[in-house]
Amino acid sequence: MSNIQTPLVEMKNISKQFPGVKALDGVDFTLMPGEVHVLFGENGAGKSTLISILSGVYQPSEGTVEISGKRVDFRSVHDATDAGIGTVFQEFSLVPTLTVFENVYLGNELKRGLFIDRSAMAKGAQKLFEDLGFELNVRQRVSKLSRAEQQMVEIAKAFHSKADILILDEPTASLTERETEKLFSFITNAKENGVGIIYISHRIHEFEKIADRITILRDGQLIETVAAKGTSEAHLIELMTGRAIGDVYPKIKRQPKGEVVLSLRDVHAWGVNGVSLDVRAGEVLGVAGLVGSAKSRVWRSVVGLQPVKSGSVKLKGIDVTNAKTRKLIQNGLFYLPPDRKNEGLQLSATSRDNLNLSILNRSEIVGRVGLLSPNKKKQLADKIGKRVGLSETYFNKTVSTLSGGNQQKVLFGKGFGEERDIYILDEPTVGVDMGTRAALYRLIKEIAESGKAVVVISSDLSEVMNLSHRLLVFSNGKIAAELTGNDVTEETVLKHFFAELRATA
């Protein structure tokens, strides 16, 4: 790369203010032609916001964006696409009811006269997939495809629009090893043709294979841009978290031989192919796996969000297979959903009202003549708010205006509304800043050490690896491995991620 080359992308001093949170604060970023530039950082560090600005989803509050030396001001995704920016978001932007080729050509359909030329589009799409080395029937509906296949369609779609700037947001999160290899060879190919690629990933070991430079973001700020070659993993993690690993994760004492609180025997459900496990009081059980590995689904079956087809679930020795969610909650189970906005919180209500919902069954809040007492409700909710470390200024604020970290504190607070025996925490720190994460980890420590059973399900490997006493790795609907002690390394965990897939392939 020579110095005289004009950068494909030059973002200067970018800031983005959301209500209640500054997502980006004066970030600079450049992308050269033929370069793979990794964006690295925690969830909530601002990576997604930065690429959303580049791809026209958001407008920056401050700062300038230049494409090939020209100042641009994207008002919409369409503007960005026109400027040659192709984005593959984590959340797919495909229309599930349309076929693959219709999706690829969506917005610029081929026409013959007045009508759409379906066969030409199908042929074109087929050729595109062949060039990319993906095997896929382009006449299938997208809803029938696996997540990995949908990802391929997204990538193909971005390429179809002749993008010379490609943004890939966690592209390998749901791909198998083989598919990942294919993607990498394709990236190498694209690089040679002068395409610039912005690559977001948490998987450090991927960087040395494809990356040129790595930009590290933390809490909305640019920490450093480093060359990929010669930067160690430990150094990257330190840059990302801003502290040594030991400062973030507390040591959680494990209670010896706790009683079995929750027990699953050969549970089958949608995407779950026979899972047996026990969760004991006083332990933190970690659960890892790829998207679609059933690491999350098995617990959703337990709490009644999807039916158990066969097998049994016992809570404290009582059979609760296919029991109603509210019965489980009344009997001492707490489930923290992975998507706080869709499943966790009443966004238009205040923190206090959100907490109130978890204490409605408490007898303390009933006043005279059997009606609920607002004062007693408030006292109890405020006590919980303080316990989870939510600042009092937020008690009466609408939850949607809070930062991700504070929202997550409210969500955790709902677990303290009543006496519980088991806490199932699905992605407990997704999109949460580092400071709050440390606070939430301390809460998990408190819960476990007070003799409750805790299950932590997470895509963040260092989180599950460092918190849990025991780690289950899920793959293809089954438990691929149970790891304890020194066996818990990133390498072994990743190996087991694909265990079942390899066996069936």
């Binding site: 959301f18 209500p19 509210r326 009344q330 966790g344 009443q346 238009s348 978890s358 609920l372 949607s400």
Partner: protein, 346 residues
């Protein structure tokens, strides 16, 4: 350092200059569009008509607004759960013809027990509306039919039944005491319908603010999945919301029947639109989760006030329809804006 000291004074000066539109905006976000509409209506109509602000006219408005207040309270519950009920008019019509038919039939059987006949008539009316509400509730809660389709369908079914029962002819010959007390009666000088409305408002306020059921209604409308995961019986909550809505409409239907002294199928023809308008103007969010009893009462009062004002200023009934519809749309546009401000742009 120097700039740090100067900045605050500059800011105060700025906030002071911005304060009036800023305060109006803040007030709007806090209370919604209703106070502005109410003040506007009061100013316009009192300028155009000298009778408008008279005690007699305002008492009249209060009496006339009873029916819409009751229906709007029911509509509010359903709106807060995130749905809406287009079948409130049918609940009124069916209540009217069923209770009237029952009373007429029973009166000929037990001519000496007129109060028993009236009580049984009430029960029959409530029963008919409960059927409507249950149908809506089961469809929406159990089968997941969209509230729009479900209540639209039930509205047609109910209207058909009401016409079938009566053949389209008003049911007359109701007991004299029925109309005399519930239509025109006064207790301590206050019209009975107004007393019924006040009582209903108090009960509804307690339900929404002081009971688990009320908290569950807000939770279901705010985020039904989160409510489910918080242990709320969402289906039961939805079902009872539609049931309570139909029963409140039924109460309005009985009072209206007493007022017109016959069972009529065309009672409540426009009340679905009017009640939704009253709620939305009163800040009940169409997305669910937001809405307050006291505001809805004012909202219903406002609609009747505007209708009354338009009558006094001799606005034709066709023109009234146009204005009322426009007012509703304007209120919804402002509600969208307000919701975004509350929930944030994300």
């Amino acid at each position: 350092m120097n700039t740090n000291i100067q900045n605050p004074t500059k800011q105060t000066a700025q906030t002071f200059l911005l304060s009036i539109p800023d305060m109006v905006l803040k007030l709007f976000i806090k209370v919604g569009v209703l106070p502005f509409f109410l003040v506007g209506a009061l100013i316009i109509f009192s300028l155009l008509s000298s009778q408008f602000l008279s005690v007699q006219n305002l008492t009249n408005v209060a009496r006339q607004s009873v029916y819409l207040v009751l229906v709007s309270l029911g509509q509010m519950i359903v709106l807060i759960t995130g749905g809406f009920d287009l079948a409130v008019g049918t609940a009124i019509a069916l209540t009217s013809v069923v209770s009237a038919t029952a009373m007429v039939a029973l009166a000929s059987m037990f001519p000496d027990y007129v109060w028993l006949v009236i009580i049984l008539g009430f029960i029959a009316g409530f029963g008919a509306a409960a059927l409507i509400g249950s149908l809506n509730g089961i469809g929406v809660a159990q089968f997941g039919v969209s509230p729009f389709i479900m209540t639209l369908g039930v509205q047609s079914v109910g209207a058909g039944i009401a016409l079938f029962i009566t053949g389209g002819v008003p049911v007359s010959g109701l007991p004299y005491e029925f109309g005399n007390l519930f239509g025109f009666g006064r207790i301590f000088g206050v019209p009975v319908p107004v007393l019924v409305a006040i009582l209903s408002i108090i009960v509804m306020w307690l339900i929404m603010n002081r009971t688990k059921f009320g908290a569950h209604i807000y939770a279901v409308g705010g985020n039904i999945r989160a409510a489910h995961l918080s242990g709320v019986d969402t289906k039961r909550t939805l079902f009872f919301s539609y049931l309570v809505c139909a029963l409140l409409a039924s109460l309005a239907g009985l009072l209206l029947t007493a007022r017109v002294e016959s069972g009529e199928t065309n009672l409540g023809g426009t009340i679905a639109l009017e009640s939704i308008a009253a709620c939305v103007i009163a800040g009940v969010s169409l997305r669910g989760g937001i809405g307050r009893v006291e505001n809805v009462v004012l909202g219903a009062f406002f609609i009747v006030l505007v209708q009354n004002g338009m009558n006094l200023t001799q606005v034709g009934s066709y023109m009234q329809m146009i204005l009322l519809g426009s007012l509703l749309i304007l209120a919804v546009i402002l509600d969208q804006y307000r919701y975004r401000k509350i929930v944030g742009e994300r």
